[in-house]
Subunit: 221 residues, 2 copies
Amino acid sequence: MSVDLDRNVVLRGEAELIERAGRLFFACEEFACAATDMNTWALPGARERIVAERHRLRPPPAVRKLYTPAALADEESERHLVELDRAGVRVRICPSPLPHETIIVDRRVAILAGPAEAGVREYTVVRSPGVVKGVVSLFRATWDAAVELADYRRDRPPALTEESRDILRLLGGGLKDEAAARRLGMSLRTYRRRVAEILTLLDAESRFQAGIRAHGFGLLG
Amino acid sequence: MSVDLDRNVVLRGEAELIERAGRLFFACEEFACAATDMNTWALPGARERIVAERHRLRPPPAVRKLYTPAALADEESERHLVELDRAGVRVRICPSPLPHETIIVDRRVAILAGPAEAGVREYTVVRSPGVVKGVVSLFRATWDAAVELADYRRDRPPALTEESRDILRLLGGGLKDEAAARRLGMSLRTYRRRVAEILTLLDAESRFQAGIRAHGFGLLG
DNA sequence: GAACCGCTGGCAGCTTGCTGCCACTTTCGC
DNA sequence: GCGAAAGTGGCAGCAAGCTGCCAGCGGTTC
């Protein structure tokens, strides 16, 4: 009893978490987390700051992220996931629910988050080696059973907004960007931004390929 | 007997046809023909000359062409057909065989061709009003029962050469033109020519659209 | 209201794609 | 062989598409 217990620290809310445990995120070699979806860090800018900080590390930390399918439920989340993947983060999808967000840093520290209550989550920072080891092995088992993001995404259509599907239809109609943008009441720049984003979601390297995928997924009305 | 018969002239071979009846093709207001496929005018350049001549006429003659599905059996023929269509020629496809090529000029002259014998076809030029009227009404009936080229082509894939299907696969692989051309051992220019030709056959105005169509037709292995 | 953030759209510079033109080679019919 | 025609590839000029950068705008937070 209690040496171990002493080492547990309970933090309330993201702000406190960042303040007291932030350096764990910034400076590490190995980072793993499991969560339902991308809604961690409601705090605006928090995620961006962490990513930016981490980006400076040499060598960059090995990051593994485990999510449930809820993390691909909407276009924005999915795009984010894809960007993570491109940035070298290893992402896997696990069918079972993961309501208790789990973070493991360098296999030495675990942070277990409870579900939000009144908008605030409680984070328990654990350093007790026995507990951490247990969490690590559980994470490992779940990770092993989960499927690579790329594989998971390969045969299911991305969740697209109505606007994105409009754009696909216009592209499918053979409209030039100019005309399509006018039709949608947006600037050429924005239209192309949208198209580029959609291509990313479709994992397409060319518009031709995007056409194939969009048709394959039945995204064209 | 015979006033009518006298008016029939039998010509042997394309060269003679062109020589004796060529002006009919060049200067007319209304031109209709029915044939199996595009292999009329084996004589090199003959077709081109006729088209060029006709193109100069003001107003341009109304041209109707009736073919069997054999006229779309290979890529080259189909492309030719599409070009005709684009040039304003009305093209229809008729499921029944049309072994006796028939040409009607200004509803006044009919030319009936027999099947080739030893490479030479026999052409009977008919001016007899009774016969011509009969031929015209038959043509008319067949025309009415036939289907517009566009409709006919809408739901069937174009006949593509192996090379064209290779190109589609490369496009589908997201390769840039540069890389694809190198892979196929052809110049960038030629590659793009091919791509443009394929887009024409797919009735696509953009590569995106071509991707959709190609996938829809199952042309991608 | 001040600072901040995300979204938008203009601009600029670049890449990619498209096409007419022409010269060269290959092919084919005579 | 010879000549015409088709096919090819280089070039050049243009159209279309892509993207980083930045300024402006409208919300939100403090």
